[in-house]
Symmetry: C2
Subunit: 662 residues, 2 copies
């Protein structure tokens, strides 16, 4: 028999923790609820399973905040008590409600254990396998508490400043701070900084608080590198900081002959782990909300850093929430599209059809919502819509090309998913009709580019719309190459200013074979932050900024997030394009390894795949690849070779296979 685990109605765990997470933003001592509606978990749930009890026994089911009863063939048994059960054959039903968290219980008995073999519903008759997690496997566990791990972080420096003490923890962290016992009536100021300037600027720092009353105390988890502590008694107050995290191990690594690349890669990895929490955060300091477009990129980095499907499932489940939908995901039209795209990409990487089945009804509801708001078949801005695409020079006043390309891709993904779910493909024809319309209305053949909007009269060209056209194969290759010249390599087109869309641009370059552009950019842009002392990747970075201007954003002196998940793109870029690892069939049943060293004379890397890893060593034109998975094909130096599981294969740049090495 399997290990007993706490069980709940599938989805409640994610819904509950997403609700909590979305309500934690604080700024300038105000609570700041998130911008979009949140769902709550089920009030009540039933659980059922058939069991044979071979001899008389006593069972004891455990709940914490849930209340309810167990029915053994209609015999009512209270929770949290020993209940005698006679030998026999039973339909066991548990019915629980929970007014503060979500209904969940635990039963660990020789003859009957709670686990995923139970069925659960929200009292709506729609039974599905119960939700559970390996972390909640004993009676004392509580699924309402997220299973983070804590490690004390030691300061690298403590210095007296402005009548208080400035703690420097050496690099960016996220976690709770505990404050020691204080004197009667003492007031203690805590001021958190991602920069030293912010920690010392008690007026403009986003996260500051004055504590009075109950000491010692543990403060909510927050982002910090520096913390300034000051008592109204002039006393030196001692604090202890912890790092709160999920113990996910990297499966990837990357280093090359340019040593700063490994530094950048580690910066990206640290940034990414700090944002890999209940769900993928955008950044750890400011809103700490979950944004679908940001998460879409995090899913990409996930697969190339640690390949951990569960956090992707959690994030998709949280973002889908519960229909009916009255607003786009995160209020953003493009983010609804990215969420649907995420589902297909998740499935293609993992082969996890069961997850798609669990959320399929919600995906269709979200799709229906998207379609219900089209005008003449196009995505337009309706009331409460936010056409985001990117911060930057995009003409969003009219019907925007980038949104239509995402819609076209949504149609394709819905076609794929509907076939997977055994339903009719109602989407492919719509995709084709939309493609024709977009070429008719947005393509400017004279300028070899898609214009942003046909209806504002400006015929503005942006990189963003054209990048998406290349990335999603909305164009054929010849057209893509025309766009590359006319837009991507055209310095008159406003450059991308966010790491977010810069990732897409660099992907487009790589897709067209220009990985050197990607490599140069990593060294210049990400390396620029490293040279400024960054210990995590920033939300935005303009090399032209000076001093504290680097910290400002959204009209706030320290408004910029200095640890933003979307800055972790180099992990994806190097794994996907420099190492050249990608699946060619669902769940990496087959996959390709097509390395492109580009500017690097040598590199050493590991890239995770589903249920395995690909190890690469390249130096002096000689590449060695080894994988512990079946289905791989190596493409290098003009040669294509099968990659035998567990055997290293060496190929030279000029195409000579070096043969398998045991």
């Amino acid at each position: 028999m399997s290990q007993a685990k706490w069980i709940w109605n599938d989805g409640d765990f994610e819904t509950y923790h997403y609700m909590l997470l979305s309500c934690r933003r604080q700024e300038f001592e105000c609570d700041y609820p998130c911008l979009w509606p949140l769902s709550r978990p089920s009030v009540s749930a039933s659980f059922k399973k058939h069991v044979e009890i071979p001899k008389d026994t006593v069972i004891h089911a455990v709940t914490h905040s849930s209340k309810g009863l167990l029915l053994f063939n209609d015999m009512k048994c209270p929770m949290n008590r020993d209940v005698p059960i006679a030998a026999g054959s039973y339909e066991v039903v548990a019915v629980l409600y929970d007014l503060t968290a979500f209904p969940t219980f635990f039963l660990d008995h020789e003859y009957l254990k709670t686990d995923e073999s139970w069925l659960a519903d929200a009292r709506d008759g729609r039974y599905r396998p119960a939700g559970c997690r390996a972390e909640y496997a004993s009676a004392g566990d509580d699924p309402a508490v997220f299973p983070f791990v804590y490690e004390t972080v030691e300061p690298v420096e403590k210095s007296e400043r402005n009548g208080g003490i400035l703690y420097d923890f050496g690099r960016e962290w996220f976690g709770p701070v505990s404050v020691e016992k204080a004197e009667e009536g003492e007031e203690i100021l805590l001021c958190y900084g991602e920069s030293e300037q912010e920690a010392l600027d008690t007026e403009h720092a986003l996260l500051r608080e004055t504590l009075a009353g109950d000491f010692p105390c543990l403060r909510p988890s927050r982002a910090f590198r520096w913390i300034f502590v000051k008592s109204n008694r002039g006393r030196a107050v001692s604090i202890t900081a912890s790092y709160e995290f999920l113990p996910i191990e990297d499966k990837a690594r990357f280093s090359c002959d340019d040593p700063q690349i490994e530094t950048i890669w580690q910066l990206c990895s640290h940034t990414f782990h700090l944002n890999s929490r209940e769900f993928y955060l955008d950044g750890i300091k400011r809103d700490r909300w979950v944004w679908s477009g940001d998460a879409y990129q995090s899913f990409m980095v996930n697969r190339y850093l640690y390949f951990e499907p569960d956090i992707i499932r959690r994030t998709i489940t949280a973002l889908l929430g519960k229909p009916p939908y009255h607003l786009h995901v995160n209020t953003i039209n493009d983010y609804s599209a990215f969420l649907i795209l995420s589902v297909w990409e998740y499935y293609f990487a993992t082969g996890d059809k069961a997850f798609v089945a669990r959320i399929w009804e919600k995906i269709k509801a979200l799709y229906d919502f998207i379609v219900s708001r089209l005008e003449n078949g196009y995505v337009v801005r309706r009331e409460n819509d936010w056409i985001f695409i990117d911060w930057g020079d995009v003409d969003k006043e009219g019907t925007l090309c980038a949104e239509q390309i995402l819609l076209w891709r949504v149609y394709q993904v819905m076609a794929n998913l509907s076939v997977l779910m055994g339903e009719n493909d109602l989407y492919s024809e719509k995709a084709e009709a939309l493609r024709r319309a977009v070429y008719r209305d947005f393509w400017d053949d004279g300028r070899s580019a898609f214009i942003d909007c046909p209806d504002t009269g400006r015929r503005h060209l942006s990189r963003q719309s054209n990048i998406l056209a290349i990335l999603y194969d909305f164009t054929d290759e010849a057209t893509a190459r025309r766009i590359e010249q006319a837009v991507l390599k055209n310095e008159e087109i406003t450059p991308i200013s966010t790491p977010y869309f810069k990732l897409y641009e660099l992907m487009a370059f790589c897709k067209l074979g220009n990985i050197e552009e990607m490599q140069r950019y990593i060294t210049g842009y990400w390396g620029g932050m490293v040279r400024l002392g960054a210990t995590s990747v920033w939300e935005q970075y303009d090399p032209a900024d000076q001093g504290d201007a680097h910290f400002a954003m959204y009209g706030m002196k320290y408004g910029k997030s200095l640890c933003h998940a979307w800055g972790s793109g180099p992990i994806y870029l190097l794994g996907r394009y420099c190492c050249g690892v990608y699946p060619t069939d669902v769940g990496y049943q087959t996959f390709t390894v097509a390395p492109a060293p580009g500017l690097y004379q040598s590199f050493s890397a590991a890239v995770p795949i589903r249920n395995g890893v690909v190890e690469l060593e390249y130096a002096a034109g000689r590449l060695t690849v080894k994988t512990n998975a079946e289905g791989g094909t190596l493409c290098f130096g003009g040669k294509t070779l099968a990659l035998p599981k567990g055997e290293a294969v060496t190929v030279t740049k000029d195409g000579n296979a070096g043969g398998a090495i045991s």
Copy 2:
């Protein structure tokens, strides 16, 4: 300026209190969650209003469990603190979340008060007037606490029994019991009884509890007439019981030459008040849930007892919950139909179009759910459906006639409501098609009756299907009279056994002019309970039962509810048919008073109408009617007279108008 009131997103108050109420059932010391899914209130909400602040001032907004901030033209202001505001013109937005109850706040300032003039949403952009209630009008109030009123109930007798004390509170009550300070380690048993037998039967009583630890203590509100209290120390323990209620005053009264009728009427009124709570309960002892079909009858009694629209709105709002719907209301097909019927009857009695507009989207979602489960246009039992109609001899195995008649009425009501909401009538044609089909498949012309099911082969006749056909004018009058003879007056057809459907049967008799049948039944059936010492009306009553058998139901020795709302029908029957008061246009803009004394030689009554009351005195063939409302028409003794507002009109049984008396 109006009175400041706590405000919330419309519907949250009902959703929250409905959730709490539905999770209070306890039996034999088990918590017993309700059978259907429950909704939770909004996690977060925004509130907005434009305000002119004529001079610099300080505002202070109050919340309890909610957190968030106020924005004055984007200036962030914390809650629960004094905030200086400069003179000026402001868009004020409050954004709140609440993890334990629902987002709500209070602001009472000379220049800015929270009230229904604010708009609110659940962060979904769908702003509507904020919800509020007159009971929550000061900073110390808390909308998470329902505004019940409490009065101490004195026992009429305390007697030593079985080593403890039996308290007799004289009649049925509902409320909390407080237990005095106990000795260290003392355990106190409380056993609640609607009957003396139940209170003393500590093994089989549904509500018993053993208290240990914290004393004095206040127990959750429960139903009782008797309470048995016993200490393990053999000590005489003192308890104090309270009546928890809503202070709704009766506007109706009824007495006649048969004195037991007033006793029955008072019994019905007391029963009804005990069940008039956050929402209409079915009964106060056992499940204490809200059942749509039961509530439908309570709405009828409401209008003829105290005409209080708010509890009807609350109950409809609670029962509608939040789409999408995956189960019928209370899991019962007919109860979904009754909920839709309730909305039209509420509107017709009150003219409250604004309420219909607030719930219209949900009504359509419920209608869509009903229609999505039809088979060949008929209501059938699908998975998780409960075809209830009535406890009794109804052939529910196949496609049931009574369900189709309710569906037909749903189409009619949807037609009325859609026209009211300015939408196209997509329903009337469906109603007509369904009527033709039902006559084709269910009408047995030889037996002058609708059969229950055409597809079970039994061709069973029940009263229930035929009663609904008469009540909702599914038949013409001539057909109704054939059914009356063939079914209603046919002793071979199994009689109705519940007060629930008995109400419909008596209404059908009255509709066909036979009010004597109704009067005889009240005296016999309801009078029978009175003669057995009932102080409230029972869920079911069989005169043939003996002794404790009266208390048993659902396989439990004391399973029967002895205070069941659906027993209050005589209030409706006497007001509607004996006094003959009913609206003939929306909101009683016009109404008829057509008394039918029947068996009574004299009666004195008052019947509420919207914004008024009709007073009736009848004796010795002489009727005097007076109303404080306009629009009335008196029909009596073959005459039809306008009822002038505020003037008594007297008519004799033979049709002579006695003339207006000032």
